[in-house]
């Protein structure tokens, strides 16, 4: 085999196949962060903020997993999603959320709904969340 390399690039050469991790669409009202809430609803959001993703040092709220919180009397209804359908931490995370929210003063029951639409994407991560992920070493 010759060791000489032709320095002229082949004009027809193509890049190797690569995967384009396309960013998602912006969805109105998401990420939901509980901004401007007060009272018990604020406390529920604070409890959610304290929960971290099991694999990365980022709050699940900053990660964009929480789509909505509604408090009626002593009941909290929460819509959440997961980044990935095959998420192995699914039950662990849901359990943690239920416990955290149920321990908020004024909340007696938690209705936690797992939804898949709109689908989660990088666009759901808050600015704070992006900062946390960058610090963790992810390019985002």
């Amino acid at each position: 085999m010759s060791s000489e390399i032709d320095p002229t690039p082949d004009p027809d050469a193509e890049y190797c196949a690569y995967t384009d991790y396309t960013e998602g669409e912006e969805i109105n009202g998401l990420p939901a962060t509980g901004e401007d809430t007060e009272g018990v609803e604020r406390d529920v959001w604070d409890a959610l903020y304290d929960i971290e993703d099991p694999e990365m040092p980022i709050s699940i709220v900053d990660l964009g997993l929480i789509y909505g919180v509604a408090v009626e009397g002593d009941r909290a209804a929460i819509d959440m999603t997961l980044t990935y359908t095959g998420c192995p931490a699914r039950e662990m995370l849901r359990d943690e959320i239920r416990e955290a929210v149920a321990s908020v003063a004024g909340i007696e029951s938690v209705d936690l709904r797992l939804v898949w639409s709109p689908e989660w994407s990088i666009e759901m991560v808050t600015e704070q969340g992006k900062k946390d992920l960058r610090e963790f070493g992810l390019s985002i």
């Binding site: 359908t85 662990m92 359990d95 239920r98 936690l112």
Partner: protein, 286 residues
């Protein structure tokens, strides 16, 4: 096809509607569950560490999708043991493409298989984006976004394999062997298919999707030097001689399936379990 009104919540469906929804869900869930388990055969055996991780990850995706579809069957009161662990294997509706063991040590087999499967899956999910069953429709976007990577993975590897003589020959052998089984993906479960179309649960018929799939697969394969013959289709049906002896959709499976199902459920039976073990209580069950 006329636009159809949305169906009601799971507990408010008529018997006819529920039967059609269930048939559609079993097919989706069983295909994903069985092919996922097959893919795991390649774990620690794939040709490079990258491909090993990729195929394991694809298997995990497919298991995640199977779970999303089985979840919707649980809406009707079924439990995980009903749907998997204690189910009569003859009632599984997956295509026989998903259950065949891989030709020993043949990476071309898994690549060709996932290529044929994922192209079909792409069309099938597309036909469910406008489904009249909202609980199913809401999950399609998420699943599709993950499936797109599978198609990319299979197509890239297929081109790579076809770039050399040995790889192309192996891919050709795999296509010859698997193509009839892939056609089984579009075979009907039974007459419930008409109900599925009439109720608007999907927006394209099996026949329509199959026609597009054949053209896509034919064009791709021939463009990389792999021969494939279009099957004979008459009155909307693929000729018997172009289909395998067992298609799976109608409950007729190859002998490989009973062996495979025994493997899948071995631990469950050996430990004399009666319910699915969990690391912790499912908050949904409280």
């Amino acid at each position: 096809m006329a636009a159809t009104a949305d169906l009601s919540a799971p507990d408010e469906l008529s018997e006819r509607e529920r039967e059609a929804v269930e048939a559609l869900l079993y097919r989706l869930a069983d295909d994903e569950f069985v092919i996922a388990d097959r893919y795991t055969d390649w774990q620690v055996h794939a040709p490079t560490i990258e491909s090993d991780i990729a195929i394991a990850n694809i298997a995990q995706d497919e298991l995640g999708h199977a779970r999303l579809w089985y979840d919707l069957l649980e809406d009707f009161g079924y439990t995980e043991p009903d749907l998997i662990w204690e189910r009569d294997p003859d009632t599984f509706r997956h295509s026989t493409l998903c259950e065949l063991p891989f030709a020993e040590g043949d990476w071309a087999d898994v690549i060709v298989r996932s290529y044929l499967y994922d192209e079909a899956e792409h069309l099938r999910l597309g036909a469910l984006e406008g489904s009249s069953y909202p609980r199913l429709r809401d999950r399609i976007g998420k699943v599709t976004s993950e499936e797109d990577y599978h198609r990319e993975h299979a197509a890239n590897w297929l081109r790579r394999l076809a770039g050399g003589d040995e790889g192309r020959e192996r891919a050709q052998d795999a296509v010859d062997r698997l193509f009839p089984y892939a056609l089984a993906l579009f075979e009907p479960v039974n007459e419930v298919e008409d109900e599925i179309d009439d109720l608007g649960l999907r927006t394209r018929t099996l026949e329509d999707m199959r026609a597009e799939w054949i053209e896509t697969v034919f064009d791709t394969l021939t463009s990389i030097g792999i021969d494939v013959e279009r099957p004979q289709v008459e009155d909307g049906c693929v000729a018997d001689e172009d289909l395998p002896a067992h298609v799976g959709r109608d409950g007729n499976h190859t002998d490989h399936w009973s062996t495979h199902f025994d493997e899948i459920t071995n631990t469950y039976r050996e430990l004399e379990r009666h319910d699915a073990t969990r690391l912790m209580e499912d908050p949904d069950d409280e």
